[in-house]
C-alpha cells in the first residue's frame, strides 16, 4: 500500500487515530498539533510525524516505528512493547514509562521521570537513548532495560537532575559526564564504565549517531558512569529487618 498523507491541523485525535489505524500501510502526519495517542498499540507500519504530537504517543507500541520531526510531549512510549520511536527534537516528561521492549531515540533533551519503571524479560530488553539532558528521577523504580544519557552540548556537566535511580532494582544506566551524580540511593552502585561496558553499548550509540548525524566514535570517547542496582540483596531492610 502507498503511504497515506494526513494533514492533521486541529483534527480530533480520535479521527486521526482511526485513519492511522485503518490504513494498511505507512502514514505521514503533517501539521500535527497535540493529537494524543498517535500509534498507540500499533505494529507493522511506519508513522512519520511533522509537528508536535500530543501526549502518550506510541503508548503500548507493538512493533511500529514512529519518527517525529519536532518535539514530542509527555508520556512517549508509555508501556511500549516493541518497535522504535525516533524524535528529532525533545521529549516531555515520563518518556518510556513502564517500557518493556523496543527502542526510543531522542536527539535533544527529555523531561522528568525518563525511563521510570522500565522492565525486561528474557529477550525483551527496552532501550532509551537521550542525546542531551534529562530531568530529575531518571530511572526511578527501574527494573530492567538500558537507559543512556549522552549529555551532548552539556560540556561535561552532569546531564541528569536529582534523585536519579531512586528505587532502582534492575537494568542499567549509562550517563556520559565528567561529573559524578551525587546523592544516589544506597541500593544503586556507580562506577566508571570500563572498555567492555562501553563495548556493550557501542552498537546502540552508533545507531543513535547514524540516525541523527553525530560521530558515534566521538560520543563513545567520553567518560561514562555506569549505574546498576546493588546485587547484594539491597532491600533486605527496606520495610523490616530481614533476619535470615
Amino acid at each position: 500500500m502507498s503511504e497515506l498523507e494526513i494533514t492533521a491541523g486541529l483534527m480530533d485525535f480520535k479521527e486521526l487515530n482511526r485513519m492511522v489505524k485503518s490504513h494498511d500501510g505507512d502514514v505521514l502526519i503533517d501539521k500535527c498539533y497535540g493529537q494524543r495517542y498517535i500509534g498507540a498499540g500499533l505494529g507493522g507500519k511506519s508513522i512519520r510525524i511533522n509537528g508536535t504530537p500530543g501526549n502518550a504517543m506510541g503508548a503500548y507500541l507493538d512493533g511500529a516505528s514512529i519518527i517525529v520531526r519536532g518535539n514530542a510531549q509527555d508520556a512517549v512510549g508509555d508501556t511500549m512493547n516493541d518497535g522504535e520511536i525516533i524524535i528529532h527534537g525533545n521529549a516531555g516528561d515520563a518518556l518510556g514509562y513502564g517500557m518493556r521492549g523496543g527502542s526510543i531515540f531522542v536527539k535533544g533533551n527529555s523531561g522528568y521521570r525518563t525511563g521510570i519503571h522500565m522492565k525486561e524479560y528474557q529477550d525483551r530488553k527496552p532501550l532509551i537513548i537521550v542525546g542531551g539532558r534529562v530531568g530529575s528521577f531518571l530511572g526511578e523504580y527501574m527494573a530492567g532495560g538500558l537507559a543512556i544519557v549522552l549529555g551532548i552540548g552539556a560540556g561535561g556537566a552532569l546531564p541528569v537532575g536529582n534523585f536519579t535511580g531512586t528505587g532502582m532494582h534492575g537494568g542499567s544506566m549509562f550517563i556520559r559526564s565528567d561529573v559524578e551524580p551525587a546523592r544516589l540511593p544506597k541500593q544503586v552502585t556507580i562506577e566508571t564504565a570500563q572498555d567492555e561496558d562501553i563495548l556493550s553499548i557501542a552498537p546502540h550509540v552508533s545507531r543513535f549517531a547514524a540516525i541523527f548525524g553525530f560521530d558515534g566514535k566521538e560520543l563513545l570517547k567520553g567518560n561514562f558512569f555506569l549505574l546498576r542496582p546493588n546485587a547484594k540483596n539491597p532491600y533486605h531492610t527496606l520495610y523490616t529487618p530481614n533476619l535470615r
Binding site: 497535540g34 510531549q73 516531555g92 516528561d93 523531561g111 522528568y112 546523592r183
Partner: protein, 363 residues
Amino acid sequence: MMREGQVRIPSGCAISGIFSKSGMKFSGKDIVKSIGVMHDRSNGLGGGFAGYGIYPEYKDYYAFHLFYDSIQAKKDCEEFLNRHFEIAHCSEIPTKRTDGVDNAPLIWRYFISPHTTKLSASQLDEREYVVKCVFRINAKIDGCYVFSSGKDMGVFKGVGFPEDIAKFYMIEDYEGYSFTAHGRYPTNTPGWWGGAHPFGLLDYSVVHNGEISSYDANRRAIEMYGYECKLLTDTEVITYIIDYLHRKKGLTYQEISWVAAAPFWQTIEDMPDGDRQIHEYLRNVFSAQLITGPFSIIAGFEGGMMALNDRLKLRSMVVGEKGDKVYISSEEAAIRIIEPDLEKIWSPRGGEAVIVTLDGGGA
C-alpha cells in the same frame, strides 16, 4: 444545583498564558486559539480568561466583576458598593448567547474607587480596604460573588469549555498586554461559575492545573490571616497565598516561588552559603505556605506573569519565546498553534519559576 463549598468530588486541566514584554497590546484571539488546542484536557465544566491592560479608559479604578443570582442580590450588592465606593461607571458585561454555555448568572462590572472619607475612617491601606470589601460581599451578601477586583484587568469565566466561554464573553474583542486562560476538568468540586478559573483578588489572578495535597493545611493557615475560603478549591487558596506573601509580606515573586515550591531540605543542604540561609529562612518562616502535590500555575499580576511547577514537577509546562512575547502552556502544541516559529522553547524544572515583567519596570 450544588455549589463549590457544598460538595467535594475527588483534575486534568489546561493552562495557557501570553505576555508581551514591551507592553504592546494584542487581541484575546490568540489565547483563545491556544487554550482551544487543549480541548481534551477539560470536560466542559469550567473555562476562563484573565486579561491585563484591558481597561485603559478606567485604569485608575478597581474593576469589580460580579455574578448575581437574582435582581435582589444585585440590589443588595449595589447598595453596599454605593456605601463604600464611588462608582465611576457600571454596566452589564457584554455577553453573547452561546451553545454549551447555560445557566449564566447576571454578570455586571463596576469601575469604582473607595470613598475617601470611608477609607480614611477605616484606617486601612487602600488595597486592604478593597480586599475587605470583596470578602464582605462574598461572605455576607447572599447570591453575590466578586470574581475580579483589580485595576486595568479583568477575569472572565464560567461553566463550559474555554473556547465557548470565550465566545460568550467575546474575549477576542479585548486587547491587553497579558492574557491567561484555563480549561477545567474539576475533580473535587461540582463546577459552578464562581469556581471556574482564573481566581482573582486585586490584580492577582491564578490559573492552575493539578490538585494540591496540602490544601487543608494551607487553607487553615491562610484563614488565620483573615482570608475566608468559601469554595473548597485549591486555586482559591493559592491566590490568597500569593496575595498574602506579595502584598502583605512584601516578598518578591522569586521568593514566593521558593516558599510555595520550596526545594527539599536535602537540596537546600547542598546550596552554597548565602543561598542556603535564604532558603532555610523562607522554609522556616513560611512553612505553612509550602504547596505540595501536583500543580502547574500561571499567576498574573499588574505588569507581569509567573509560571511555576510543583517541586517534583508532577504537571507539565512549556515556555516559549519569540520577539517580545513569552508563551506558557501545559502543552507545546498550544504554543505552536499561535507561534510555530519560536526562538526558544523549554520546560522549566520543578520549582523553577519563570517570571516575566514589562520592560522598564512593573513588578
